[in-house]
Symmetry: C2
Subunit: 407 residues, 2 copies
């Protein structure tokens, strides 16, 4: 059992964070933060998951290398430039790491690096180097919001969560921040998410757990089907909670995993809901499937479908598009065993059963679908596996934002 | 060698066609045609390719069955209702087939059936039955345009093409019509396309050739990544050109296949260009790949990417999104060996080489990308395979059309 608390990545003991404007977002607006630091007072067990895109940003390669030994102490991240496919990318990512290490008195291997923003432009490394002293100076045990703000690009809403649970009489905390928006279709990674905990847990254990949890949280959201070059999820565990070391196969492991799942799922859902241009969070529940993997494939095909997404934007109970997306997902199934319904806080309505349309009240359907959080519920009759995936609607604003992002 | 001629599906000898309003499009606008017939004077060799969606419309199943013997004489098609996942779907498709056969004096097995439109609503079979006499009466050797008009849904442009070639001193003609718009991401089929020819060719030969040609034409377009429940491509060959029977491995076979490829590619490109809400045709050429299949996977990932599509809408030379889409296509490659350029009738510009951005003239890029037909040219350095795929931009109007289609 865990409970939600305040504090974000600074909720766990011994973590400071900051976010400042350094000028990577080069529009002259100094109110826009673009450089974030998260630093632990003591060495941490660390783990990460990263994009599976063949084209990976330079900081992704560097963080993969630095986290490989299961240890780290700090995370540095800029927004405004992804440092992907960019001239001097490797060199600039390394310099960002080294300069951060220098100013924090750490070894470069203890620093994990992330970037987010436009692809293909040279990173303004001078702005970062010049901004690091201010970022270091601003480090605070209440700095999570500043850091969460500094990693945002076209995000409208800050994404932050923290929880507390008890393990062997000790209070253990987990906190996380994330950024999302567009190019969101994570595959074994996510956009950017940084998670801290004061739990005592070793790097290898953390790595396994993170992969398990990312699989059922971040990897089950999609904004536009575009898997980014920069997806990164990092976790630092500094052990200051003084709990007994968490090891696999114990009740503590399960309790901690449950809490971590809540943290990552909360951030994932926030990313889906704040997808570029989105007006609605769409939750697709597939139940009664014969396997978890196929339920996931089907749920993700539905939330990814542009026709389903535009129908949701229009509050149109167009279940035919849902069934159609299931049908091209790549999974075989019998349409005659499929039931589809829509639900929201305004009520619920069943619209298709046995693969065919039901007569339903269009006014009630409109009422259900006009809410800003809508569920698509798919029931199959083949087994006991359930999967939930999250997405958002496709709107004029998505087109507007992305028709004019780079220049 | 073939040359383009007029006449559409009525260009080949012995084919009549018609298109009338019967009322399936139930908005009371009798100017909207919704019932099409294509009829050959004599028995035809016939072949078809159909959607791979697990959820197939009732007419798809029926046409698969009726074309299985490689013979047919007529095609009947309605727009306004897909007869997919609809109550009495099978029954209504069969009735549409039987009534058409009756009025034409044919056996039901000689009639192929197709439907397009909204999913999940009961087909207004009475309107079709009542409209068939008028459709039969309107049959004409100049009726291709009427038929092409009657299969349109949200299409803005009629899609029609015909060619003539010479085989052994005989003039052989091929004609085709198609409809596209949304839910376009064909897989071993297409939306709807009906092709006629007066060539002498047997059903089995025709089937093999059609599959080969569909693979490199219709299966290389995407409007929105949604594979429809109704994709159907049918071809009828009545032999009235009196050419020697076309058999595999001959020069005639190659010449006919070349002409058929031109016909289907022309229709496919018309569908891509007239994608729902589209303002631009996007052609993605991948060259220098080590295999055709991987080149196709990469090209289709690029034209399917919502971020590439919105960038094209905004005339933004955002090549990072192109490289990113290549990277998540599922194919492995070395980004350092990739060159990307844009081209149109306004000129061309190279924007990325060795996986990194080039300095380029933004004004020139804007000029190139502001045209209504734009090429994305991707050069790899690993082999000699080339593939072209076609798509369109993602616009406000796509969202508008699909946010309010059903109700």
């Amino acid at each position: 059992m865990y409970k939600e608390i305040n504090g974000g990545v600074c909720a766990p003991k011994g973590f400071r964070a900051s976010g400042v404007h350094c000028g990577v977002k080069g529009d002259g607006n100094t109110a826009k933060k673009d450089l974030a630091l998260i630093v632990s007072d003591v060495e941490c067990a660390a783990a990460g998951t990263f994009t599976t895109n063949q084209v990976k940003a330079s900081p992704v390669y560097l963080s993969m290398k630095n986290v490989a030994d299961g240890k780290a102490k700090a995370i540095v991240c800029n927004s405004g430039n992804a440092n992907a496919c960019a001239p001097q990318g490797e060199e600039n990512a390394l310099k960002m790491c080294e300069e951060t290490a220098k100013i924090l008195g750490l070894a470069p291997e203890e620093v994990l690096v992330a970037s987010t923003g436009v692809i293909g432009h040279t990173l303004n490394i001078d702005a970062i180097v010049n901004g690091l002293p201010a970022a270091e100076k601003a480090l605070s045990y209440e700095g999570s919001e500043d850091a969460a703000g500094a990693i945002m690009t076209t995000d409208l809403v800050m994404k932050q969560i923290s929880v507390e649970l008890e393990l062997g009489g000790k209070a253990v905390r987990i906190g996380g921040i994330a950024k999302g928006s567009g190019m969101i279709h994570p595959n074994m990674g996510t956009m950017l998410s940084f998670v801290t905990t004061d739990a005592a847990v070793e790097g290898e254990t953390l790595k396994k757990m993170l992969r398990d949890v990312v699989r059922v949280t971040f990897n089950r959201i999609s904004v536009d089907g575009d898997t980014s070059t920069n997806d990164t999820c990092l976790i630092l565990a500094n052990g200051l909670a003084e709990n007994a070391l968490i090891t696999e196969g114990t009740a503590d492991y399960e309790a901690f995993r449950e809490a971590l799942t809540f943290v990552l799922r909360t951030l994932a859902v926030k990313i889906a809901k704040d997808g570029e241009g989105a007006t609605k969070l769409i939750t697709c529940n597939v139940t009664g499937a014969s396997g978890e993997e196929r339920a996931e494939v089907i749920a993700k095909a539905v939330i990814r479908s542009p026709l389903v997404k535009t129908a949701m934007f229009g509050s149109d109970a167009n279940w035919g598009r849902v069934l159609c997306a299931m049908g091209y997902s790549g999974e075989e199934f019998d349409p005659a065993e499929v039931t589809i319904g829509f639900a929201s806080r305004a009520g619920s309505i069943e619209v298709c059963t046995g693969g065919q349309g039901l007569e339903f009240d269009e006014d009630q359907a409109l009422k259900v679908l006009s809410e800003d959080e809508v569920e698509i519920n798919i029931t199959m009759q083949e087994g006991t596996n359930s999967v939930t995936a999250w997405g958002c609607d496709l709107t004029y604003d998505y087109v507007k934002i992305n028709g004019d992002y780079r220049t």
